[in-house]
Symmetry: none
């Protein structure tokens, strides 16, 4: 696939940005690297003249930005999402290095829309937000001063994306020999499976929503690692539906 097309499939999602200047800087950073799809989740101030000023010639990206009230909606239709995380969380995927993770992002972009997800300037992504991503990326920084500006973080990852998109990338072994290939499941399809799984686990008493513990994050980590295909989501939901029917039949008598 052409590098320009791969890059056009990357959504840059900014969650709860506080400073409109950073939104403008992100738009400019994206456009210099050939990315165009700016996505905002609950921006504090937008649109704003400060965003336009910092965007300079990339105001078109600001005008075309999509705005949502939850990360979940912002990721609808994506097949892969990577969240920026400065640190390992108790829950959630272990952060990989930018080069490695961007390479995975571009491989996934061959199949559909993907996302690079950035958190708020001060607090980063919440654990809940990071749970919605398949993978995490951490930009290596000086341990004594790791305060990377949001626009700079967007710049570094978009730069890596451009470098990777235009580099010769050998076809992944997976894509060469795939016996039963099915398209990667979209974010909403995978979320549908998680919701179904939770319902079944709650009905059977294995999961108690009053005392959730780490069960759901652990299951998300497992299936996130596998990057479910559509066909697999259908199979898993079929397994779940069959147990529900069986349970239902049993309790009818």
């Amino acid at each position: 696939m052409k590098p320009e097309i791969l890059l056009s499939r990357i959504r840059v999602v900014l969650c709860r940005p506080s400073h409109p200047g950073n939104i403008g800087a992100a738009a400019r950073a994206m456009k210099t690297m050939g990315l165009s799809r700016l996505t905002l989740v609950n921006p504090k101030l937008f649109p704003d003249p400060e965003a336009d000023t910092r965007a300079t010639g990339a105001v078109d990206l600001l005008n075309a930005a999509k705005i949502f009230t939850s990360l979940n909606e912002a990721l609808a239709g994506t097949v892969f999402a990577i969240g920026l995380s400065a640190r390992q969380r108790d829950l959630g995927p272990a952060p990989g290095a930018p080069r490695q993770m961007v390479s995975a992002l571009l491989s996934a972009a061959e199949e559909g829309d993907v996302a690079l997800v950035f958190g708020n300037e001060t607090v980063g992504l919440s654990n809940d937000e990071l749970q919605l991503c398949h993978a995490a990326v951490s930009i290596p920084t000086n341990p004594d001063f790791s305060s990377l500006n949001l626009g700079s973080a967007v710049q570094v990852l978009c730069y890596e994306a451009r470098m990777a998109a235009y580099a010769e990338r050998p076809p992944s072994p997976e894509s060469v020999t795939t016996p039963f290939v099915s398209p990667t499941a979209t974010h909403d399809e995978v979320e549908g499976f998680y919701a179904h799984l939770e319902t079944v686990m709650t009905a059977t008493g294995f999961y108690n929503p009053e005392q959730p513990g780490r069960l759901l994050p652990k299951l998300r980590r497992l299936f996130g690692r596998a990057r479910l295909e559509r066909d697999e989501v259908n199979i898993l939901r079929g397994v779940l539906a069959a147990t529900q029917n069986k349970t239902g039949h049993g309790s009818k008598c």
Copy 2:
């Protein structure tokens, strides 16, 4: 030589910067990547509150910045200098790619001080200034919008310098704390899970051993890709056991 020492030998030289905010952004970009030696040639406005604001926690680099009236003086004592150039000039070195040029810069840093030289925001480096450099570097950009912000250009090259200094092995967050790492499940543990899954799917009627089709191989492919951990096998078998109990209760009556 230690990565920190190599990085401490890199001077970031800004020639005739117009906007003090960009000087501050450059300082912050440098410090996040472990560089410290900011050098200014004829800044239009410096010091300036806007520089301090954009530097946030990197004001110490602004305070320690060296200021000169010519690039020639700013480069005194360096053994190697690379100038940023968006284009090939009639005169001067042909620009190389960031990764390749930064690698050369770090090799030279083993011998002494080196410099990354950036031009004015609007006009870049003059031909005369570029002539003072040993080599040129060009950051690949979108041909339709190559207007990289000065602070962003500093960020990208300092990031490449850090990556190269740590030779693709920056301390990974993963190695510091691994939250719920459980040992990889053994072959027999995974097989026990598959057998359990098959039993449940058969009991619910989702799977018919008489007409197996591709169901089991597809599930093996999914969970094989994830490389299950022991803890995860226990969770999955817990989910299965709970559905069996529920089904069992129902059919007792």
